[in-house]
Each structure stands twice: as structure tokens, then as C-alpha cells.
Symmetry: C2
């Protein structure tokens, strides 16, 4: 059971070097560095006595015991070095000393094609043929991209595992602000996302009077305001919503924008609230489009339900945290989505958070104190030992 903190940190930094960009990392699902990292990981699994396996969705497995641990090694377009990679390498280190562990790195957690695509496929919520038609923002299909990482075997049978334990950075400011070392997750919030297209009339920016314009950007700006107003009476302080991706057409300084396409994403732990928010957002978009004389299309709706964590796994993590970091941990919800959301469809799941310095995540500057990383590794190892005893 003795984890080796030095070996764990050495592995983390070796993985960080694959796709490094300054302090951060870029490994988009199925890009060259992501594939390199997945082959590197399969070699580490073999060295540790696990049976390496790559499934058709690009998930990389190290098979041995009935407690599945892991996370993902793909990153955002500007990813932090820890994020999900922390959970995969911590699981590898725990598995070296505990024969009842299997390890996984799920694919496309960061949503190049979908959102938590690899674990969604494995959980049965998304079929492989349906996943193959997902496209990244450049139009590349998942089905085409995954040819670059050939499967060695079919998907592992979920019945081979009793439970799933995921370690990840918090990606928010709570633990760091409180000076705490670990967070035990109570539930993962649900997520909804739609792609909205507002269509106006592209025209000359000098000769088209303001009153005669149908300006798709102005519609987007108004939609942001209308959505904010519509959501205000529905939300809690933990609810979030984001317009994060925008494409303007023709995107020229002297042309009135004829088309704006953008994502609207919202998250909350309450399924009923997610529904009410979707109604309010769609109403706000309809009103905005009508007011501004714009065409409206809503497409690519994605939904992930909130997921509760297993009471047994929570209890094991809490006991281990109190043993190794007494008084310096808390239970908390996860505002971020994780592969555990999908795996919860198959078996009991639990999650352990390490602090994020300054709450910074999905950014090259993301980091965690080394002492906190090794304390969390010990908590994880102790909890895994209890769960496999």
C-alpha cells in the first residue's frame, strides 16, 4: 500500500512534457500529443502489472482489480498540467501497491467533439455510431479522428468493476481560499448546452441606416442581456451560465454582421432547475430574435443530469481525509462536470478534489502545491485500501 510520492510526481511531470506549452499543456482528444500520451500511459500500465487496453472510443485502460480509478488525460485548448491527468497518475501510483485496482484514462472529457465523450460511450448513454457523427469546431468527425488511435480490444465489461473513484483538481477557488487540502464531492452538477444561430442581413456598415439594420451581433449582445434577466429569478449563487464560443459572419469591420453562432451553457445540481432555465433561455432567445428582426435556430442540444456520489465512497474518503489532513478538508458539490457523471449510470462513484491555486482552471497557469498533491495521493490510497479491504 506504500505510495511513492517521488515516483508519482516524476510520472506527473513526464506526462506534462507531452504537449507542454510553457507551464500548461495542449492535448486535444486525438491530436498527436494526446495519442502520444495515451501510448505512454499504456506502457506505464504494463510496467505496473496492469493489462493495457485501448477501446474503440480511445479510452485507455490498465486492467487488474474491481475498483476502477482514473480520470482523463486530454485537455482544453489551453489546458492546465494537472486537471484530469492528476487523477490518472494518482490512480496508477495507488494501483502499483494495491492489486484490487484498475485504472482508466477516458477520452474527450474536455469536449473537443462532445462532452465527456469517452465515458458517455462506455456508460451506454451515447452509442458509438452516434458519437462518430459528432464534429469538432473545425468540422472534423469523431469517427474520423478516432482512426488515429486504433483499438486493441473492445470495451471492457462494466460488470468487471464494483465502483469508480476519481481524483481531480477542484477547478474552483473554494479549497484554496479556505486553506484546505482536500474536497470530498457530494454531487456533480448537471450541464446543458445549446448552439444558437441568429441570422440577420449582412450589409455595408456605412450605407445601412441603424433603423434598417438586422445586425446579428447586436442580437447576440441583446440575447446575453435577455438571458441574464430571464435567469435572475430562477438561479442560486451556485448556478452558472456561459456564452463561451462565438462565430461572427462575415466578421469584417465594415460589414454589418449577418450571422452570429454561439454556445449557451448552464449548470446546476438540480435537474428541475436545469429544465426551468432551459425554458427561460429559449424564451429569451425567441423574444430577442423577434424584437431585432432576426432568424433563430437552436441546435446541438447536449444534456448531462446531476449525479449524486456514493455514501460509502464519501465515507471512506472522509475518514481518510480526517486521518491525513485533520480539520483541513470539506464536503462540497462539484460545479465542474466529470467522467464520474457518466460512470454513475453503471456503478457507485466517488470523487476527491485537490485545491486549485487561485481557483484557476482550463488555463496554462493552473497549479496545485506539491504538498497538497502528495497529501491527496495518501488520502486516495487509504480510501482505496478501505474500499478494497
Amino acid at each position: 500500500m506504500a505510495v511513492d510520492a517521488g515516483r508519482f510526481l516524476s510520472d506527473l511531470h513526464a506526462l506534462r512534457a507531452i504537449g507542454a506549452r510553457g507551464p500548461g499543456v495542449v492535448r486535444r482528444a486525438f491530436d498527436a500529443d494526446d495519442i502520444r500520451a495515451r501510448h505512454w500511459l499504456a506502457e506505464r500500465f504494463a510496467e505496473a502489472g496492469l493489462t493495457p487496453r485501448i477501446d474503440p472510443a480511445g479510452n485507455v485502460w490498465g486492467l487488474r482489480g474491481r475498483l476502477l480509478m482514473g480520470s482523463h488525460t486530454d485537455t482544453q485548448p489551453e489546458g492546465g498540467w494537472l486537471d484530469g491527468a492528476l487523477g490518472v497518475i494518482a490512480a496508477l501510483e495507488v494501483a502499483r501497491g494495491n492489486p484490487d485496482i484498475s485504472v482508466v484514462s477516458f477520452q474527450d472529457e474536455e469536449g473537443r467533439f462532445g462532452a465527456t465523450t469517452g465515458s458517455e460511450i462506455w456508460s451506454g448513454a451515447l452509442s458509438l455510431p452516434a458519437a462518430d457523427d459528432l464534429r469538432d469546431l473545425s468540422g472534423l468527425r469523431f469517427g474520423e479522428a478516432r482512426l488515429a488511435l486504433p483499438a486493441t480490444d473492445d470495451f471492457p465489461d462494466p460488470a468487471a468493476f464494483d465502483a469508480y473513484l476519481e481524483h481531480h483538481i477542484e477547478q474552483g477557488p473554494v479549497l484554496d481560499a479556505a486553506g484546505e487540502v482536500a474536497g470530498i464531492v457530494t454531487a456533480i452538477v448537471g450541464l446543458r448546452q445549446i448552439t444558437v444561430t441568429l441570422t440577420g442581413r449582412q450589409n455595408h456598415a456605412g450605407t445601412t441606416p441603424m433603423a434598417q439594420r438586422a445586425d446579428a451581433f447586436r442580437g447576440l449582445a441583446a440575447a446575453d442581456r435577455a438571458i441574464g434577466n430571464a435567469l435572475a429569478p430562477l438561479v442560486t449563487p451556485d448556478t452558472v451560465w456561459t456564452i463561451g464560443h462565438i462565430t461572427l459572419h462575415p466578421n469584417a469591420p465594415s460589414a454589418v454582421p449577418g450571422r452570429a453562432r454561439f454556445t449557451v451553457q448552464w449548470r446546476d445540481a438540480d435537474q428541475a432547475r436545469l429544465d426551468r432555465m432551459e425554458g427561460a433561455i429559449r424564451d429569451a432567445l425567441s423574444r430577442t430574435a423577434t424584437d431585432q428582426g432576426l432568424g433563430l435556430e437552436v441546435s446541438d442540444t447536449a444534456a448531462l443530469p446531476p449525479a449524486a456520489m456514493s455514501p460509502d465512497i464519501r465515507a471512506a474518503l472522509c475518514r481518510a481525509a480526517e486521518a491525513h489532513a485533520p480539520g483541513r478538508w470539506r464536503e462540497m458539490p462539484s460545479g465542474a462536470l466529470h467522467d464520474a457523471t457518466n460512470v454513475a449510470r453503471l456503478m457507485p462513484v466517488g470523487m476527491l478534489f485537490a485545491p486549485s491555486i487561485g481557483g484557476i482552471s482550463h488555463d496554462f497557469a493552473e497549479d496545485t502545491d506539491t504538498d497538497d498533491l502528495t497529501t491527496c495521493l495518501t488520502i486516495l490510497d487509504t480510501a482505496a485500501a478501505r474500499l478494497t479491504a
Copy 2:
């Protein structure tokens, strides 16, 4: 003096074929099709007995007489087939029958690098070394781009010309809505443009509470509203302003936008109003950045003053319009910028507008009735004959 309408239309369609995209055209300054079009034009000048010449800025000249006529053959990213090409080909046809004419196609009128760059350089308002440092949206320098179209000679001496007469489509809905055939321009509005960068904090869209965000897109949406409110008391119905180009960073659905860069452009015929608008826009941006906790940078300020047309050229155009389209023409300001704005620094200038069907411009769907094109050609020829008599 006899213009040949068939030859004129045949030339227009031959030029349309270079860079054709369906009914529209793409010839960005110094791209392969723009250069092909400029060599094609130089050959037409030579055939017509004009002396062809390419200057260091990429302007193409057909030199013979002291009345300079023309416009530009480069296009917007999704350009109409007429736009400035109409004025160049009409000038060529007039010059075939009138030895007192020279013809020019200015470069980069459509602002790939600057705005009316070629005529701005020739007018002395922009030095060639300063122009060389202008960059397009991909970062390519004007100085590098122009190497693809080597100069045959230095710039022609402006003293070789007495006046400049430009024909162009209206690019607005006024003539078409009134069923009129021609517009004689009274003045060209001035233009200002700035590039604005709002900098927030890029972070995870699930774990960052709304109250703790510094969302650069939300700042952009608020800036649009603040600018509109600030300008309302200052503007006339003819004043326009546009946010037409936006770059969001990192532009991912699950990341709070850390940076938004966008252009703000405004136009008016009154220089003092342009100044007041600039003050109001900069104040609105400062207030928005402060309110939202964002960094603000304003760069790449561009300014073109309003330009009055020559009374003599206006009178010649009005007489010719009344002769060939009695009661079906009007005098009007130009809401669009033209090369004539720059040439007005050097000599008297005048402009003739053909109608734009539906007011559509800077769009592949731009068009004008053939009868209106040939009537305008005749008006232009008659006015040129009077001015060179």
C-alpha cells in the same frame, strides 16, 4: 465619345470571372485573384491606348489625359461583382472614346490592411513605410503582401491631373427604393475606427461563480449597450456605428472568455460630430471596463475626414443625369467611404452612384439592373466630355 454598352458589359463580366464565387467575387487586396485582375486590367488599358503602370502601392494606372477616372477592383471578403469594379470598367469604356481621360484602380480600398490604403498613400496622407507596417487580420504585413505585385514605375505625379471622377454603386437602399437611376454625391461621410481589447480572467465555466467572473464577452455585450446609450443624444438618422469584427479567447464553450478584441467603427458627414462620438465611445468603454473589472486597451485608431464634392463636377453630372434620365436622379451624401475621399486632398473630385438592388452591398448578392448600368455609363461619358471640353 460613343460608349459601347455591349463592350462595357462584356468587360464587366470578364472581370467578374476573376475570383468569382457564385454571383459574387472574392479579390482581397494582393491575393492571387486580385493580382490576376490587376494584370488583366493593365492589358485592357494598353489595348485602349492608355499607358499601363503599376505603382509601389499596387494601384494600376492607364495614363493619357488630365481627367482621372476610376475606383478600385479589390473586394470585401464576400464582395459584390460591381462595387468599385463598375467604376473602373466604366472609366475604361469612357477613356476609349475620350483622349483626355486617365484611369486608375486603387489598391486595398476594402481595407484588408488599412482603409482605402492605395489612394491614401498616393494622396500623401499615409507614407509607404507606415503603410508597410499595416497588418491584415491574420498578421500579414502590407509591406510583405505587396511584393507579390511588383511596381513597374513610381507613383504618378498628381499634378498630371486636373480632377477625379469616380463611379460606384450606391451600396444603400435610397435610389432603388425611389426607382431612380443615378445619384450625384454631395459629400462623402468621414470614418473613424478603433480596435478594442477587453481583458478578463479565463477560467472554468462550471466552477467559477457568476459574481466572481471577469468575463470578457459579457464586457463586450455591455460595451455595445453602453456605446448605444452614449451615442443616442449625439447622432442624426444618417449617423452609423458598427461592431463588425470580434475575436474571443479562448473561444471554447466551457471556458469563461478571458479576452475579447473587436472593432468599433462610426461614420458621419460632420467632423465635429465624429470627434464628439469618439469621446463618448471611449468614455463608454472606460466605464464598462471599470464596472466589469476588465482591462481595456484601445489601438489601431483610423480616421478619414468627411470630403465635399466639387461644385463644378456636381453640376456637370447633374446636367448629364437630367439629359439621360430626366427626373429620375437625385443629389445625395455618400454614407460609404470611397477613394475620392483621399483624392480630394489633391484635386477637385466628384462621384456618380448607380442604384443597388435592395440596398445590398458587401455581399455576394449585390446587383444592379443592366439598364441602370448603361444609363449611368452614358451620364458619366457626357459629364466627362463636358469636363474635358
